[in-house]
């Protein structure tokens, strides 16, 4: 089987599964993200090689291409920067969760670095104030840890239950027993 025959068969499988229109959309999206829009068609081997070695646009590159109000672009670029720094959606599981909660699915084969175009499709529909809130909360968005929570409970307990003795042996303890918890 020649390479062209193999290509035809593979594309045929995609068309059978998703339909010609969806496959064309996916190729167009790939052209945008891989920077192949200026490449001539049909491509020869040399042009395919050039396309492969050309740098793929980064999340911030993609964010800069967003058309819209300045505030929206600025908020999306900030999230793109945080995504590159692995502060926003740190794992592919986090990406999948983010998309699933918005009613979308991420194919299992896509890696975190490849997923930003899909994330971007969602971000452009989110109001600017929500985007800013997402950016603001990134440092608090990772998995919970006991130590910070324990410190917060201790600090809050000092103000909410001043009459209760601290288990650490603080000298401010009183003689009254702690109230029963339900």
């Amino acid at each position: 089987m020649s390479r062209d025959d193999l290509l035809g068969r593979l594309v045929g499988v995609l068309v059978d599964e998703w339909g010609l229109a969806r496959v064309r959309q996916a190729v167009a999206s790939l052209e945008d993200t891989a920077g192949l829009a200026s490449a001539q068609r049909p491509g020869g081997a040399r042009q395919s090689h050039d396309a492969r070695t050309r740098r793929k646009p980064s999340p911030t590159d993609l964010a800069r291409r967003v058309h819209g109000p300045t505030a929206l672009k600025s908020a999306i670029e900030e999230l793109a920067r945080l995504f590159e720094a692995k502060l926003f959606l740190q794992s592919v599981g986090d990406v999948r969760h983010f998309l699933e909660m918005r009613g979308k699915e991420l194919p299992a084969s896509i890696s975190r670095s490849e997923s930003f175009p899909k994330i971007l499709e969602e971000l452009v529909d989110i109001p600017v104030d929500q985007l800013r809130e997402i950016a603001r909360k990134t440092e608090l968005s990772g998995p919970s840890e006991l130590a910070p929570l324990s410190n917060a409970i201790r600090t809050a307990g000092a103000s909410l239950r001043p009459e209760v003795a601290h288990e650490s042996g603080d000298n401010s303890a009183t003689s009254e027993p702690p109230p029963k918890r339900s």
Binding site: G103, K104, P107, L140, S141, L149, A152, A156, G157
Partner: protein, 311 residues
Amino acid sequence: MYLRPSSPRRRMCSHPRKATMARKGGPLCVCVINMKGGVGKSTIAALLARYAFRSRRADVLAIDLDPQANLSQAFMRGSYSAFLQEQRPSIVEVFNGYRPPSATATAPSPLDSEEVVHTIYEVQERTLQLIPSRFDFSDNLTAAIRPDPKVLANFLAHHFRHKDLIIIDCAPTESILTHAAYHASGLVLVPVKPEFFATVGFPLLRESLRQFRSINRGHRISVAGVVINNAFYDGGNDGGPEKARALREIRAEAAANSWCVFENEIPFSRGFPKLMRGDNSYSGNSYMFYNFAAEFFESIGLSTAPLQNVA
């Protein structure tokens, strides 16, 4: 002892509810309760709320009525520490009925419902929101002269009629918080694990509901069903004779109470603790939870909206 003709294991739980998103009668209000701790109430409440928001496209309010605040920590994660330190409004203020004086306000002020909810997810006009709990919650009620168990129901009736689903995570032991959950709910979901001590929660819950109904004859509250948690190890050891014995006892007790048992059971999964911590790196077989979630929401009439595939 009356036993229904069909096996409770095979019978689907169903309730005569209209399956529409714009709810004429207001939101579906479900409290997740068992008088035994550690059966998975908070995990199940959290995952049901998420599923309803994501897959049923529902507008959801989750309420944490447990002073241990596990549901709040699962949804708010790192934000929960900040919430505690900043003493932001919580379920405590709902029961108090006002915001106390603070660093920025030297007088008590009315409680705005928007101040007390935390938005966990938002997509267009729908949200998954949470009224969080705080560890001093029970102190506040203990110290009150006459704590009113109807306060929460009143608050929800005035401020959250627009929601599709309200789900309440309850504290395990019987208290005024239990009755507050009953007053605010029309449905009860009972998680149970196939362990002897967990099954002891059943008769305690039965008596609790019986007493509530006898005092509040105008309030209709029914048990949506029993869900068996930690029911099996997918592909592995099934727990042996003791687990089988506990399962038989659960089904017999449920049948005696005329409570149906959901056909889909929740497996043991290492993914659940990770999901509750907010770690999405590994979910294991926790996806099997959604088989139960689909059955549960079909039974109470929360309509379906399919997921869209990205690729």
